[in-house]
């Protein structure tokens, strides 16, 4: 396993974790842009543009792109988040040159008006799909409530109205502002010929014009409150609750992930034993979301509407106990085993390493081996967790419920409602 890095004259960084014995290779363009780089006028453009990137270039039609991606037998796709847009492909090593050439080319899309209008329909269908699917937008609604006027409040997909309003010119303007080679990393993992990769990238991407693509980063203010969105024909009540946590550049993020595992891993966590194992809730899980300058502990709780108030009280009791008493050494050790094993097992596939290496490079401009990462987890102590809990109180939280319940009182019970409303009012 060898880490290699080179920067083209126009600022495009090429980084790779080369594993010559791997069966496959994976390659991705990691663009440092996403929903947080949008404004109200172009909300949803990052994700829509991600779709349009596959619709052809000056020399290729959409059908050409699709056909050629399939011809090299690649598993290719793309995703957009609040902060990144990633185009990637996993393929057999003999197809490296074709993959590099093809992915490089589509990163300069034609954005043809006819394709733009047809793809807009697909995006609207994607939005409709998530409207019908649990947790029925609770995740986006909760982030919007929690972040308020902060750029991270913006959902990745946009809304049906914002996407319908978008024009091709707005998209081109956004592309020309964000897809600078200085704002993109070309990342590779697995059985990669690095020298050939650099030479070909220089030929394909060397002429891309560089410019600065700054991002506004500031801490999100703390927020607390509860909102309820009634969906009468849902069978279950879906709650998303968030508290502030470490940001992606914070060193205590490892402690944060361990805490989330102890509290809310799918199996064997405090939430599992308190809520899921006894059958009170269908699911109760905590995960972390890390962004530049902001982080969250996110809990999702799903169960019968009539049990929601009790379950929410159980959850908050559990969070309060944890905030007061921290975690036990045994819990911490178990969480470390679980996470470290997951990191090590996941690293066997080049495509998984691609996301780990690319994500780390884009957010922190550094490279971490699998061993570096597991060492960071192993070093966390229960005192670190206590310090983390003092820094990010789990009792300050924003919650959103979507389901048959109609108001906050039904969701959180009368006394809790008063407390949360007071907390919200104080912030204003």
């Amino acid at each position: 396993m060898e880490f290699r890095k080179q920067t083209l004259d126009n600022g495009l960084e090429i980084v790779a974790e080369c594993a010559p014995r791997a069966y496959s290779a994976a390659l991705g363009f990691f663009v440092k842009t996403g929903a947080r780089d949008e404004c109200d006028e172009n909300h949803g453009v990052s994700h829509f543009l991600e779709h349009m990137v596959f619709k052809g270039t000056a020399t290729r039609s959409a059908a050409d792109v699709n056909r050629q991606l399939d011809e090299i037998g690649s598993h290719s796709n793309a995703y957009t988040s609040e902060e990144q847009t990633v185009y990637f492909a996993a393929f057999l090593p003999e197809y490296q040159a074709r993959a590099v050439e093809l992915l490089s080319d589509i990163l300069r899309p034609a954005l043809r008006p006819a394709d733009f209008e047809t793809e807009k329909l697909v995006i609207l269908e994607e939005i409709a799909k998530y409207e019908d699917q649990p947790p029925f937008g609770a995740h986006e609604k909760c982030l919007a409530a929690h972040f308020g006027g902060h750029p991270l409040a913006r959902s990745v997909l946009g809304t049906a109205a914002s996407v319908a309003r978008l024009s091709r010119d707005q998209m081109m303007e956004y592309f020309e502002r964000r897809y600078s080679p200085r704002n993109i990393a070309l990342v590779a993992a697995g059985n990669v010929d690095f020298d050939a990769l650099v030479a070909l990238a220089d030929r394909c991407c060397g002429a891309w014009t560089p410019y600065d693509a700054p991002r506004e980063i500031y801490r999100a203010p703390p927020h607390a409150g509860v909102e309820v969105f009634c969906k009468p024909n849902a069978a279950q009540e879906y709650m998303i609750q968030v508290c502030n946590g470490p940001a992606s550049e914070d060193e205590d993020r490892y402690a944060g992930r361990l805490l989330a595992t102890v509290l809310g891993d799918e199996c064997g966590s405090r939430m599992f034993w308190e809520l899921v194992d006894p059958g009170h809730a269908e699911s109760a899980e905590m995960s972390v979301c890390e962004y530049q300058g902001a982080g969250l502990f996110m809990t999702q709780l799903c169960g019968p509407p009539e049990d929601t108030a009790d379950n929410y009280a159980r959850l908050n009791q559990l969070l309060a106990e944890t905030e007061a008493d921290g975690v036990t050494e045994a819990e911490l050790e178990q969480a470390k085993s679980k996470i470290c094993s997951h990191v090590v097992l996941g690293s066997e596939r080049p495509v998984n390493r691609l996301f780990a290496v690319g994500g780390t490079w884009l957010t922190r401009r550094c490279y971490r081996t699998v061993r570096d990462v597991t060492d960071c987890y192993r070093r966390v102590t229960s005192e670190d967790i206590a310090a983390l809990l003092a820094r990010y109180p789990l009792s300050v939280q924003t919650a959103v419920a979507v389901g048959p319940l109609q108001d906050a009182e039904q969701v959180v019970g009368p006394r809790e409602t008063r407390a949360l409303r007071t907390a919200t009012a104080r912030k204003k």
Partner: protein, 414 residues
């Protein structure tokens, strides 16, 4: 490089199939016991799932918490599920944790406590699962489609019904465990880093004295219904289409699979191109082959906003029918590239290989090596695929829709 594949059939019927993958640091296993939902008593739909839930609440010397804690300290990422013909337990772990994890699962399938004082909790967990399906519209469409295609008992939903779960008591669970957690018909597959003699001996020590049970026949009752609409006030209409095809064990399976690959694998496939790229009708559209041991089907799905649902159904059905006219050489070549990549990338995952081994043994009674499958793929030809399609044209469609309005489906019936 030749694959190191091993098999051992124990006297009690249990089969151990294993593939050594020395280049990995992990190991994975899959243990199939013949405790499928197709064995649920008619008045206890969901019993196998309830039994599975209780089987994981303490076994051997461990109570429920000790069971989960032991697995987590081993770094084993495990799961369990009830399928039509089996209950499946499986997991991936660091190679050094393989033997202790297999020992724990020997306790699960042979010495589960099935604690009566946890029956109510386990029942609630199963009821939550059933309830969650009400909100998962595409899954509901698929479950109904499988019922229409396979009838009773092979088309059942593993979750069963609320009535079935409510009716089951601890004696039902214990009887189900006794009758269906059995070595005859069970398959244990292992892939990853291990040495074969040690694995064989370890598994023999854990499982060789597991006593077989008398077999019980299943009686099939086909389903006459072909078209079903479930009204729901939703943004999209969820369309599930299926038709009978051949099972994995059939000599022409790869011809059938290749045809569906041309229809749905990859971004240049026919469904993606015609439904999504050219018309913008859907975000999600796909088709795949589904196989039971003795029969198979093709299952398709498309989700689209209500006012475009009819057009979507019509276009998907037209593409299914167009398959009968055959596929083109360039389509097949692209498909082969994708299938071969997937096959080779399987070698990077112990979990993928252990699942493939178990499936091969269940369906074929033998293991196909990667080289054998590659050779089958290389030898696929348009002529043979088109001959297959001409003699097995897509027809006898079953159609399930979930959404505001039923769709015009008469063009689907042939």
């Amino acid at each position: 490089m030749g694959q190191a594949i091993y098999t051992e059939q124990f006297d009690n019927g249990l089969v151990l199939v294993a593939e050594a993958m020395d280049w990995l640091e992990s190991a994975a296993f899959c243990l199939l016991t013949p405790a499928g939902c197709n064995r649920d008593p008619d008045d206890r739909p969901g019993l196998a799932n309830l039994t599975r839930e209780l089987a994981e609440r303490g076994c051997g010397p461990r109570d429920s918490r000790q069971f989960i804690s032991a697995l987590e300290l081993l770094g084993a990422d495990t799961s369990a599920a009830v399928l039509v013909a089996h209950t499946s337990f499986g997991g991936t772990m660091p190679a050094e944790s393989l033997f202790p994890t297999l020992a724990i699962y020997a306790d699960v399938v042979r010495r589960a406590h099935l604690p009566a004082d946890q029956l109510d909790d386990a029942r609630l967990v199963c009821l939550q699962e059933i309830r969650s399906l009400d909100d998962d519209l595409s899954q509901r469409a698929f479950l109904e489609l499988r019922r229409l295609l396979y009838g009773e008992p092979q088309g059942r939903s593993a979750s069963g019904t609320a009535d079935g779960i409510e009716a089951a008591d601890i004696d039902d669970v214990r009887r189900c465990f006794e009758a269906t957690y059995r070595p005859d018909g069970a398959i244990l597959s292992v892939a990853g880093k291990f040495t074969w003699p040690a694995l064989r001996d370890h598994v023999a020590a854990l499982y060789a004295d597991w006593a077989p049970r008398p077999p019980r026949e299943l009686i099939d009752t086909p389903e006459a219904e072909r078209i079903l609409h479930l009204p729901h006030d939703s943004t999209q209409t969820h369309i599930a289409i299926g038709y009978p095809s051949i099972p994995y064990r059939h000599p022409d399976y790869y011809e059938a699979r290749a045809a569906i690959g041309v229809l749905s694998d990859g971004m240049s496939s026919r469904l993606f191109t015609e439904v999504r790229e050219n018309r913008g009708l859907c975000y999600a559209v796909q088709a795949h082959c589904h196989s039971l041991r003795d029969r198979g089907s093709v299952l398709c799905y498309a989700g689209t906003t209500n006012d475009r649902a009819q057009e979507t159904l019509d276009v998907v059905l037209a593409e299914l029918r167009r398959l009968a006219a055959g596929i083109a050489v360039d389509e097949l070549e692209r498909l082969k590239a994708g299938l071969k990549s997937s096959l080779i990338m399987q070698q990077e995952s112990s979990a993928a290989r252990s699942s493939a081994l178990a499936a091969d043994w269940y369906h074929l009674g033998r293991i196909q090596t990667v080289d054998q499958v590659r050779s089958v793929i290389d030898n696929l030809s348009c002529a043979r695929i088109n001959a297959y399609l001409a003699s097995h044209p897509p027809r006898d469609f079953r159609i399930v829709t979930v959404g505001e309005q039923p769709l015009e489906t008469s063009r689907g019936i042939s």
